[in-house]
Symmetry: C2
Subunit: 459 residues, 2 copies
Amino acid sequence: MPNNYRSYLAENRNRNLEELKALLKIESISALSAHKKDIHTAAEWIQNALQTAGLENVRIMPTDGNPIVYADWLHAECAPTALIYGHYDVQPVDPLNLWQTPPFEPDIRDEKIYARGSTDDKGQIFMHIKAIQALLETEGKLPVNVKFCIEGEEEIGSPNLESFVEKNSDLLSADVLVISDTPMLEKGKPAICYGLRGLCAMQIDVKGAKGDLHSGIYGGGVQNPLHALSAILASLHDEEGRVAVEGFYDKVVPLTEEERQAFRDLHYSEEHVKKELGITELYGEKGYTFLERTWGRPTLEINGMYGGFEGEGIKTVLPAEAHAKLSCRLVGNQEPVEIQQLIEEHVKRHTPPGVEVTFTRMDKGRPFTTPYDHPVIQAAMRAYQSAYEVTPALTRMGGSIPIVEAFGRILRLPVVLMGFGLPGENFHAPNEHFHLENYDKGLLTICEYWKELAKTEIS
Amino acid sequence: MPNNYRSYLAENRNRNLEELKALLKIESISALSAHKKDIHTAAEWIQNALQTAGLENVRIMPTDGNPIVYADWLHAECAPTALIYGHYDVQPVDPLNLWQTPPFEPDIRDEKIYARGSTDDKGQIFMHIKAIQALLETEGKLPVNVKFCIEGEEEIGSPNLESFVEKNSDLLSADVLVISDTPMLEKGKPAICYGLRGLCAMQIDVKGAKGDLHSGIYGGGVQNPLHALSAILASLHDEEGRVAVEGFYDKVVPLTEEERQAFRDLHYSEEHVKKELGITELYGEKGYTFLERTWGRPTLEINGMYGGFEGEGIKTVLPAEAHAKLSCRLVGNQEPVEIQQLIEEHVKRHTPPGVEVTFTRMDKGRPFTTPYDHPVIQAAMRAYQSAYEVTPALTRMGGSIPIVEAFGRILRLPVVLMGFGLPGENFHAPNEHFHLENYDKGLLTICEYWKELAKTEIS
C-alpha cells in the first residue's frame, strides 16, 4: 500500500484512466429517448464504481425519470458532512461529422481525453469517486463524512431532482454541497464559482397551411411560416444586443461596482476569447464587458431553428411549419416561469397574420449566488493553493446547474462549485475533451479539500 | 384497330395507366446527387416509350448535366411543326412521413393517381407520348409535325437546357412550343396560361465561432448566428407584405386595369383557397388580390432555414452556423441575376456584427408572357372546347418554367401552356397526385389540338 494518496494516485493513474474510458463509452444521452437503456447502464456503472471505491449504502434510486445513484461513508465522527452532486448523463452529439474521433470512443491525445462527457460531467464525478478511493485505500478512513447524489437528467434540466431532494431531505442532509461541473477561468487559473445563471427553455412552433405548398403557385399569396418565425425571432432582441421582451429585465439584480471591479481585476483577455473562438469581434448587450455579459447579465439565445428544405440545392417549397428552440440564462430574482410567460406574451404580440403559434415550455432553474467569504469556500481556496500552487479566482459563471439553487434552498446548505474543466473544452459541442493536467491536479485538490474541510468550523 | 383515337384511348386505358405507374416508380430526383442513376433510368424509360409510340430519330442526348431525350415525326407536309417540351425529373420527397402512400409506389385511389411526379411532370409528358401513339395507331399518321424535347433538370432550374437549345436550334426549330406543366384554374375549369413568373434562388450561410458553443458559457457574449440570420430574414419584408430589398420592384411591369378586370371576371374564390389550405386568412402584398399577388406580382420566399439543435427536447447550444434557402418569383422585366445582386447587397447591409455571411446563387429564369390572341392559343381554345365542353380560361401563373422564356427567345416561337394538373394536387409537396378525369380529358385535348393546329395559319 502506498504511504499517501498522492503516490497512490500516481501509481494507479493508467488503471484509473482505462476505467474512465469505459464510463465515457456509455452513450447516456438524456435528451434522446432512444438512449434510455444507456442511461441505466451508466447508472449501474457508477453504482459499481462507488462500491469498489469503498462507499457504503450504495443504491440506484428510482425517480419518475432517470434514476439517481446514492452512496455514503459516515464514520468521521464530529466532522462535517459533504454532499457530492454530479450527473452521469451527457449532451447529444450532433453534428456528428464534426467530431475528429467518435464521441463515444474515448481517445487520449496531446494529454487530453476526448469523448462526450469527458469534462461535462462524467470525468469530474469519476474524479470524486477516485479521490475517495485513494483516501480510503491509503488512510483507511476519510477526514469528513461524504454522501454522493449522482443524477441522470442534468442535461435535460433535472426535472425530477428537486422533488427527489425534497422527499429525501434527511438522507441527503449535509453541511456543504460540493459540485464539480463549472469551468476554471483558464489554463493554470483554477476558480471557485459563487454564482450561476438560471435557465428556462421553450420551443415555438409556427403553423401555416395544412401541408407544404409550391412557392410558385402560392408564393406571395399566403403567409410563409418561415417569414413569420424570422420576424418573431428578430423581435426578441433590439439593435443594442438587449433582450426586447417586455419586462425581461425587471427582476435582474444589477452588478455592483465592487463586483465589476473584481471582474476587471481578473484581467480576463477578450482578445484570447476571440482567438479561441475564431471570431473577429465579440457581441452582446451594450455597456458591458464579456465577463459581465456572460456571468452577471441575463440572455436569450435561439438554440435551434428549422423549417422547409434543408437538402442539397433548392426546393421551391413554401413550408407548412417552422420551429425554434430557445433558452434564457437568468440572474438575480428572475423567475423562470415568469420569463417563459413574458416571452409567450411577446411572441403573441409579434406574430404576423396568417399563422398560428404554439409553445412548449421546457427546462427551468432559478439563478444562484453564495457569499464568497463563507468558510467552506475559504477551505476550498486552501485546497487549490496546495494542489495548483496558485490562488484560485473567485468567479461567477454563465452556465446553469438548476438544481444548485434548489439544493441550497431545500437542504439549507452552502454550495462549493469546484470544477476542473477549461472553457475551450467544447462542453455541449463536438470534440469535447478534458485536460489530463486538471484531471490529475483536480484529484489532489479534492483530496486536500476533505482534509481542509475537516478543520473547518461551519456555523 | 379501333376506328378512332377516342375509342383507342378508352380501350387501352388500363394498359396505359400501368405503364404510367412504371414511370412514376423511378426515383428521378434531380436535386439530390444520390439519384443520378435513377435520372438515367427515367431518360431510358422515356426513350423506349417514344419509340414504342412510333416516334422517329429517338435519342438520348448528353448535356453537362442530365441528358435530354429527343424524338420527332416529320411527315406532315405543309403542316405546322410543334415542339413538345417536358421533364422527367421530379422534386425531392421530404418530409417523407407526411406521405399517405410512399412517393415512389404509385397508388390509384378515388380516381386519382398518387405519386411524386404524377402531375409534375411525368404524368403530363406521358399523356403527350400516348396521344401521339393513339393518333398513329388509329390514323397511321399525324396532322402536324412534332418534336419532343424532354429534359431531366427542370426541378433544379434547367441549368443546361438553354445552351442545349442554342446549340441545337436547327434540330429544335418549330412553329409553336407546347408545354403541359401548368395547372388548370380549378376542377372543371381548364386554362391556357399566357404568363409565367421568373425565378432566382440562393442560399445564405451565416458563420459565427469556429465551433458550436455552450450557451451558458458564451450566451450573451458572442453573436449567435441564428439571431443574425433571423434579423437578416426579417429585414427582407416590410409590415405590409412587400419585399423590402432596395430596388426589387424597379423593373416590375404593373398589371394593367384590363388584366386586373379579366382576373376579377374569373370569379376565383379566395374562400375556397383558404379552405383548401386549412388557413383562416390569406396574406400578401397590400392592395392586391390573391390572383394578382400570385400571378402578376413578384415575391421572395424563404424555402428553408436551419441551424442548431433540431432534436427532441432542448440542447443549450449556441451554434456556429445558420443557413437559409430562398427564392424569388419575378415578373415583367426583373432580371434574375440583378435581383440576386440586390438581395446580396441588402443582406450585407442588414447583417448584424459578429458573423460572416456568404451566398450561393442557384436557379434562375426570366419571367415570360405571350399575347393571348395568338392563333396557336386560339387553336388550343377550340381543342379544350371539344374535349372539356367548356371555354378554357386565359390565365397567368405564379410558377416558373424558366426555359419557356429561353425557348421563345432563342427559337423565336410562340408558346402554348396547356396543363392538366389542379392547384390542390400537391406539386412539390407530400401526397402529390393527378386526377384521372383530367388525365383522360387531357389526352383528348392534346389529340384535338394537333387537328386544330393543322388548320391554323401561323404567321
